[in-house]
């Protein structure tokens, strides 16, 4: 099975709009949204949720106030500054600071710290007009986004095998950290969407370094290329220098916003040059998969 992951480094360059178009153009694919803390692909694909599953991952420390002797050892050993003490000398764990490492549970001399499993969000298996989709929602202010990304990819892969589909199209998160690494490791190829701005160029270079680090071939789309044609040329030269490949340009087009408002992918919304561009890019991506 082949897997395409769409990433960008910088947010807001058009990852999800382009992934939506790929979903519409692909045949026999399973779709996955791995931007689990700000997922948007469902707004274009209107998935009908077939199955919802709780995502339980890691644990959270909770002090039992009645048993706590206020010795302070937990606070001393916590590397994350997540233990607080109030004016009455009562200790508690700040749930937003706690990384679930279990050190406080281990060092508490009277075993007054519980360690219940953490409900971090949920993931969904859904039907869309373009095929099956796996997506997720990370709970508010929750940890473990990387593990939720891994869960989404694993479940999407299993679904594809079960249904005899040979392609996975993944909408990735912005950045280069934990959830991005969890989204791309082992992928067949990356489609990197950038824009012709200094920030877009800077962030794309870091993403291409990451692609090299994991030895995954990367193909770069310059979206809104006509905002700054000179910068577009510079970016494409940088792409080649980084050992990656330019795979097309998409002009700035208000139809992207209009299609979002209408809850449709761009290729369903409009016709003309911008759609032809995207269709050509998709055909090139399919060639690279062979």
């Amino acid at each position: 099975m082949k897997e395409i992951v769409v990433i960008s480094g910088k947010g807001g360059t058009g990852k999800t709009s382009i992934t939506g178009c790929f979903a519409a153009l692909a045949e026999n694919a399973v779709l996955a949204d791995c931007d689990v803390d700000a997922a948007d692909l469902h707004m274009l694909l209107a998935p009908e949720v077939i199955k919802k599953t709780d995502f339980i991952s890691g644990h959270e420390a909770v002090v039992r106030e009645d048993d706590c002797t206020s010795c302070g050892i937990c606070m001393e050993k916590c590397k994350f500054g997540a233990i607080e003490v109030n004016s009455e000398g009562k200790y508690r764990v700040d749930p937003f600071g706690c990384e679930g490492c279990m050190v406080c549970v281990e060092v508490c001399p009277v075993k007054a710290i519980d360690f219940p499993p953490n409900h971090c969000g949920e993931w969904y298996f859904s039907h869309t007009r373009f095929g099956p989709m796996v997506h997720a929602k990370l709970g508010v202010a929750q940890e473990n986004s990387g593990k939720l990304v891994s869960t989404v990819r694993r479940e999407a892969t299993l679904k594809a095998k079960e249904l005899g589909r040979d392609l996975l199209i993944v909408d990735g998160p912005p950045g280069i950290g934990c959830p991005v690494i969890a989204s791309i490791t082992g992928a067949t190829l990356l489609v990197v969407v950038t824009e012709p701005t200094i920030s877009g160029k800077h962030d794309m270079k870091r993403v291409l370094e990451l692609a090299n680090h994991f030895s995954i071939p990367a193909y770069v789309i310059v979206n809104k290329w006509d905002i700054n044609p000179g910068m577009t040329g510079e970016i494409e030269a940088d792409v080649v220098n980084a050992g990656a490949h330019p795979i097309g340009r998409i002009p700035y087009d208000r139809a992207f916003t209009v299609s979002q408002i209408n809850g449709r992918t761009l290729v369903e919304e409009t016709t003309g040059a911008v759609v032809e561009n995207i269709t050509t890019i998709w055909e090139s991506v399919c060639q690279k998969l062979k």
Partner: protein
């Protein structure tokens, strides 16, 4: 006062707003770039006389001559950063959160610490010394942004104006950046994606009990969804930035908001005072 600039969705204009606040401030200000995966503030602020420091985290080092292969460390580690198959454990540094648990549970004292670098902090001055710029940068291939963000924040003095440029999303790097902030500006755009992710960001800052208001960027694009949502939720909209092709072009070259729309400078100068007076407190 620490003002954090955040958003659910990426690319809505966080950095544009954070840089504009720093440039317009009528007093010395510290700009802290907490978007350590993709830091962009320095592109627009162009700090000078930068010095750098490494971000080091501690990971376990196993003394194989002392290790009895009991695997207590691997059983304890909540992040699967140590794996033992009847052997001295293998360490996977990129999974380690540096909690120190393995060392505490090792019965034979076989574990010591070694430092590894996961990023860099750059500290410089901009606008003839008035703006201090602190930028965190995660090394490519390292996965853990929060320790880099924590180190950025060690450079913020008490009792001075500080603007924190946060990463996108709502997960741990954002929580780490918002921790200790006095006020949050949530930057969004009036599109369905912008609105959807704004709602997630609002849930997050409410969960953290932080006062906030909203900045709508490219306010004349898209639809009324964000305006209607804010009205319904009684969320104050502190600024509306119009969409101008000149802004997009200035931004593409590393120009700032006031290069394209100079008349917005007064509003951004006044925002810290408006927040202090409580006008924009939810």
């Amino acid at each position: 006062m620490r003002i954090a600039v955040a958003s659910g969705k990426g690319g809505t204009g966080k950095t544009t707003v954070a840089v504009a606040l720093s440039l317009a401030a009528s007093e010395p200000v510290l700009y802290a770039d907490c978007d350590v995966e993709e830091p962009n503030g320095s592109i627009f602020l162009r700090p000078e006389n930068e010095r750098t420091e490494e971000v080091l985290v501690e990971i376990p080092e196993i003394d194989e001559a002392v290790c009895t292969s009991c695997a207590a460390c691997a059983r304890f580690c909540q992040f699967n950063a140590l794996v033992s198959l009847g052997t001295p454990p293998l360490v996977f540094p990129e999974l380690c959160h540096s909690c120190g648990g393995c060392r505490i549970v090792c019965p034979s004292g076989a574990i010591s610490w070694k430092n590894v670098s996961i990023g860099e902090i750059a500290i410089g001055k901009s606008d003839r010394g008035r703006i201090s710029v602190v930028q965190g940068k995660l090394n490519v291939g390292s996965s853990l942004a929060p320790p880099v963000i924590r180190q950025v924040k060690t450079h913020i003095p008490e009792d001075s104006l500080c603007v924190l440029d946060c990463p996108p999303g709502t997960a741990c790097p954002v929580i780490e950046s918002l921790n200790g902030a006095d006020y949050v500006l949530l930057v969004t755009e009036p599109t369905p994606f912008g609105l959807h992710d704004l709602k997630l960001a609002v849930d997050t800052v409410r969960e953290l009990s932080l006062p906030f208001s909203v900045v709508i960027n490219r306010c004349d694009e898209g639809n009324d969804g964000v305006e209607n949502y804010c009205a319904g939720e009684r969320i104050h909209i502190i600024a509306r930035i119009p969409h101008k092709r000149s802004m997009a072009e200035a931004y593409s070259r590393g120009g700032n908001l006031f290069d394209a729309i100079p008349e917005m400078r007064d509003l951004f100068r006044d925002i810290p005072r408006m927040i202090e007076r409580g006008i924009a407190v939810e």
